[in-house]
């Protein structure tokens, strides 16, 4: 296994780099989008709530692969999107729906007395959210958000379907070149675990700390 790694080190490391890059971009993008759609669902405006709800229900119920392929073979006709970009957009949109739900649940979990107190003290809806509710909600949503990021890293393997140069793509290419269907996948498994294991253990630690 070590010799396979050393002879294809540059491919594995390139794949690792693209996987990290895609995950980080999608992480930032989906957090911003997710926060936006979470707020859209709770602002005191029925139409905004409806738009938020529809977006989340649609995106949550369709496979990531279908969303990614749609960008790769349909949207690419209009905007130039290569596999890496299509995959990262797919990941961002898909994850944003889950993040929106997580944040919304966090906001709902903040005691409603806090919100009412803010309003009673003459703060606007937005000020109450910004200074009272969100700071408390963030504390609650960090562990579930962290778990969404673990999912995001795992899901980035969808890039392999659209030649997105990520770890999984490199494993496929090396496996087909060497006719070895075992070791390339073990090596990329180790790379994935290096990213996901520490993150998910840290989130469990935070969860347990919150519970006490």
């Amino acid at each position: 296994m070590w010799s396979l790694f050393t002879s294809h080190a540059s491919e594995f490391l390139t794949g690792f780099g693209w996987t990290i890059l895609s995950s980080v971009i999608a992480l930032i993008g989906s957090t911003i989008l997710g926060l936006g759609f979470a707020l859209l669902q709770i602002v005191p405006n029925r139409w905004a709530n409806l738009v938020g709800k529809i977006y989340i229900e649609i995106v949550r119920n369709i496979p990531l692969l279908v969303i990614t392929m749609f960008f790769y073979v349909v949207v690419a006709n209009i905007f130039k999107l290569n596999g890496f970009i299509s995959g990262t957009i797919g990941l961002t949109l898909y994850t944003s729906a889950f993040i929106a739900e997580t944040i919304r649940a966090g906001i709902n979990a903040v005691d409603s007395g806090q919100y009412e107190g803010g309003r009673a003290n003459g703060m606007s809806w937005w000020e109450t959210m910004r200074y009272i509710v969100l700071p408390q909600a963030i504390h609650l949503v960090i562990p579930p958000l962290g778990n969404q990021f673990v999912n995001l890293i795992k899901n980035s393997s969808v890039l392999a379907f659209v030649a997105g140069l990520d770890l999984m793509y490199q494993a496929n290419m090396i496996s087909q070149l060497t006719f070895d269907t075992f070791n390339p996948y073990i090596i990329v498994a180790i790379f994935y675990l290096m990213l996901t294991m520490p993150l998910s253990y840290y989130m469990r630690y935070l969860e347990e700390k919150n519970a006490h």
Binding site: Y72, V73, A76, A160, F161, S175, Q176, F179, T181
Partner: protein, 280 residues
């Protein structure tokens, strides 16, 4: 009582699902390296499981209306099976260029007839029959493209689409080293990607490309062939009896006219293709 009914209903649902989808053929047999193991298994079980393509028109394509696979390779598989073991049932498993070799080595399929070029690298891991078809690597481009041949693609920024596990993506690196290769899982995705502008050209064997151009008015084959790609039928190593039986079967088909009949059936009406050239 109610629980029992629910359990019964659930069970029949699974059973019906499994049966309807034809999942009854899972086999458990030791991965042995016995000589002629595959051949003896075919003679014993009277089943020959072929790995074939489902996304390449003319060679092996899924017919949406009938739900069946059809093409030159498929017909060849059926005729060869008849001659290897007259009692054997033909089983077809859809594979891609990327999955076919592992599936053969793992024993999921008995042999591959799937637009597979005989190459020295592959001969190290599988055994091939004599060539049964002479393809050559070529290019498929959009009608609007000004790419005329492979030399036009040897520049920085050019993107060439191919399929994972095909030797075309290895070959093309020699002819256009400056271009970038975009390797997709299967030909269905690769063709759609070409039409969506994900690459300047799609490269693989002319037989496959002509098949794509038959139904798609928006694309064309250009530049002639720049390699020769003799297709072989692959079987697991250490199966001399099966290789011989397959070679004999192909020879027999060539002498009794079956081979020409099949070649004519699939390639006669394809514009730009001379079936006598490829089927030698």
């Amino acid at each position: 009582m109610q629980m029992k009914q629910v359990a019964g209903a659930a069970f029949s649902f699974f059973a019906a699902g499994l049966l309807m989808s034809g999942v009854t053929q899972t086999t458990v047999h030791a991965a042995s390296s016995d000589k002629n193991e595959t051949y003896e298994r075919i003679q014993k079980t009277h089943k020959m499981n072929w790995g074939v393509k489902g996304d390449t028109k003319l060679m092996g394509l899924m017919n949406i209306e009938s739900g069946k696979l059809e093409g030159f390779d498929i017909d060849m598989a059926k005729e060869i099976t008849k001659r290897v073991d007259p009692k054997a049932k033909v089983e077809l498993t859809q594979i891609t260029s990327g999955t076919r070799v592992p599936m053969l080595l793992n024993g999921n399929i008995d042999s591959i007839i799937a637009t597979m070029t005989i190459t020295p690298e592959r001969e190290k891991v599988v055994d091939f029959s004599e060539p049964y078809f002479n393809a050559g690597q070529s290019l498929l481009v959009k009608n609007s493209s000004d790419v005329k041949n492979i030399k036009d693609l040897d520049r920085k920024g050019a993107r060439i689409l191919g399929v994972q596990g095909s030797n075309s993506i290895e070959n093309v690196k020699k002819f256009a080293p400056k271009a970038r290769i975009v390797a997709l899982p299967d030909y269905a995705t690769a063709l759609t990607a070409l039409q969506s502008g994900q690459g300047d050209a799609l490269t693989t064997d002319n037989g496959i490309l002509y098949g794509m151009a038959v139904d798609n008015k928006g694309v064309k084959v250009v530049g002639g062939t720049f390699t020769t790609e003799p297709y072989g039928i692959a079987v697991d190593k250490d199966n001399p009896k099966l290789v011989k039986a397959i070679n004999d079967a192909v020879d027999d088909m060539k002498s009794d006219g079956t081979y020409d009949k099949l070649a004519k059936k699939w390639f006669n009406d394809v514009p730009g293709m001379d079936w006598k050239e490829v089927a030698k």
